[in-house]
């Protein structure tokens, strides 16, 4: 695709802009900012990836993955406001999920340790983990705020912090995982997933594209389970002290 062709694709931005101004939806600025940010960010990433692929250095692969983890962490911790130590929890979760998935894939020789394979798949792993963590934290904080009476009730009856928060924790884990599971049920029927579409558009054999996509789906399911459970089980302890007293959300930035 040439830059001229890409520029002509901006016509697709005009349609939502016209709609938002006509219907007074108040989304005009957001659409413009999102468009500019996506162009700038993707062009920068494109240049960086070109450099990394051509350099063929393992150090750059590591740096790229680190950059993704830091960017995802910064995005997630805003939602974790009120849970002490959330930055460390998110960092630990993202690093663990990346190590787990890449360890399995490289260890079983499913993919080679090459920039073209490791970086895009790491991006999907970390990106998915980020979305799951955001969904989890959103629901978990809501559950804790709405269920604080039940949490204190269970503690007052002699229950442990884990028992007291169990309902809120499991509800948040379920809620964060459901979109991933539901999306997998309709995969291929309702939509062709992004990676598979990209490979087919790029000229790959559809069966090869399907196999790569299946690999990613299985990875994403693992990510969904591990990241929700890890963030959940590491977070809830921060809401209690050593005397099994409920501290609640602290309403402060970590």
């Amino acid at each position: 695709m040439s830059y001229v062709q890409l520029a002509s694709a901006l016509v697709f931005i005009l349609i939502p802009l016209v709609l938002t101004y006509t219907l007074k939806l108040g989304l005009g600025n957001d659409i413009l900012i999102a468009t500019v940010r996506s162009i700038v960010q993707l062009l920068i990433v494109g240049y960086i990836l070109t450099f990394v692929f051509e350099s063929d250095s393992k150090v750059y692969i590591g740096l790229m993955v680190l950059l993704m983890i830091v960017a995802a962490t910064l995005n997630i911790i805003k939602k974790g406001d009120g849970i002490p130590g959330i930055t460390g929890i998110i960092l630990l979760t993202l690093v663990s999920v990346e190590f787990l998935t890449m360890g399995i894939m490289l260890g079983l020789r499913i993919i080679p340790f090459e920039a073209q394979e490791v970086i895009p798949i790491s991006g999907m792993v970390i990106g998915n983990c980020m979305i799951l963590s955001l969904l989890f934290l959103n629901k978990f904080k809501d559950e804790v705020e709405r269920g604080d009476e039940i949490i204190e009730l269970v503690l007052a009856l002699g229950g442990s912090p884990k028992t007291a928060i169990d309902r809120s924790l499991k509800s948040a884990i379920r809620t964060s995982m459901i979109p991933t599971i539901e999306a997998q049920k309709t995969m291929g029927l309702v939509q062709l997933p992004g990676m598979m579409s990209g490979l087919i558009i790029g000229g790959a054999d559809p069966m090869e594209a399907v196999m790569y996509q299946l690999l990613i789906l299985f990875l994403i399911l693992t990510n969904a389970a591990v990241s929700s459970v890890m963030v959940g089980y590491l977070s809830y302890r921060k809401l209690f002290n050593q005397k099994a007293q409920f501290l609640g959300l602290t309403n402060r930035n970590d």
């Binding site: 009476e149 204190e152 007052a156 009856l157 002699g158 229950g159 442990s160 309902r167």
Partner: protein
């Protein structure tokens, strides 16, 4: 004999050096205007909060030396809003057992309902369908599952009509006799305190202004208590 003793208990800016005792097997009401620190006192006894300074003793042992989760089984607490978990009457009565992966026998659950005068309510009834008074009774019954030595009641009649208030008062007196528990009961209502108390603590602005029998409090010359009794400082 004192079952609970406060010694110069301080907590944030809410409790300002409280010292006093609760007699075993008696009903003591905590009375005082809003913001006096009554609920904070109750949560300190149950171990949901701990003093910043000073100490609280349960049967002579500092709470600091008692496992909090064991303490809470011995000191039950019923909250103002009678919070219920989603589900049936049985699910709520079974909660104190379920949190330890145990099960309350159906017969025992029915006996508990009888003890709180809810014989006619089926165990399978959804708690959403219960009235405020019925929820208060279930909350008391649920607290009794652990057979506590002390029962803490946080304004359990605050949102009930007068007839229901009187019924709950009679129920608490009955439970106190039958289970031989010490009851510590927060109330805003001085009339209620007169009806149910053996002893009373009068609190204001985080301080224990007076403690003793109801007669002693009412005969007090303390201007703060006189103002409250006359209804000018509610």
């Amino acid at each position: 004999m004192a079952v609970i003793e406060f010694k110069d208990v301080q907590y944030k800016s809410i409790l300002k050096g409280i010292s006093g005792t609760f007699r075993e097997g008696k009903i003591t009401t905590l009375v005082g205007p809003s913001g006096a620190g009554k609920t904070t006192c109750l949560k300190q006894i149950n171990g949901l909060l701990s003093p910043d300074a000073g100490a609280i003793y349960f049967k002579g042992t500092d709470l600091k030396d008692i496992d909090m989760m064991e303490l809470r089984k011995k000191i039950g607490m019923a909250f103002q809003s009678a919070p219920m978990i989603a589900g049936t009457v049985y699910d709520n009565l079974n909660l104190p057992k379920a949190i330890f992966d145990q099960t309350l026998e159906q017969e025992e659950a029915k006996r508990l309902l009888e003890r709180v005068d809810l014989k006619e309510v089926p165990l399978t009834q959804n708690v959403k369908e219960l009235s405020g008074g019925e929820k208060s009774r279930i909350a008391i019954a649920r607290t009794l599952v652990n057979r506590p030595d002390v029962l803490l009641l946080d304004e359990i009649t605050a949102s009930l009509d007068y007839r229901m208030v009187k019924e709950i008062e009679a129920l608490v007196r009955k439970v106190q006799r039958e289970f031989n528990v010490t009851v510590i009961w927060i109330t805003h209502d001085l009339e209620q305190a007169r009806r149910v108390s053996d002893d009373m603590w009068f609190l204001k602005d985080g301080k224990l202004i007076e403690q003793g029998t109801i007669e002693l409090i009412e005969d007090s010359n303390n201007p703060v208590i006189e103002a409250f009794v006359k209804g000018v400082d509610q």
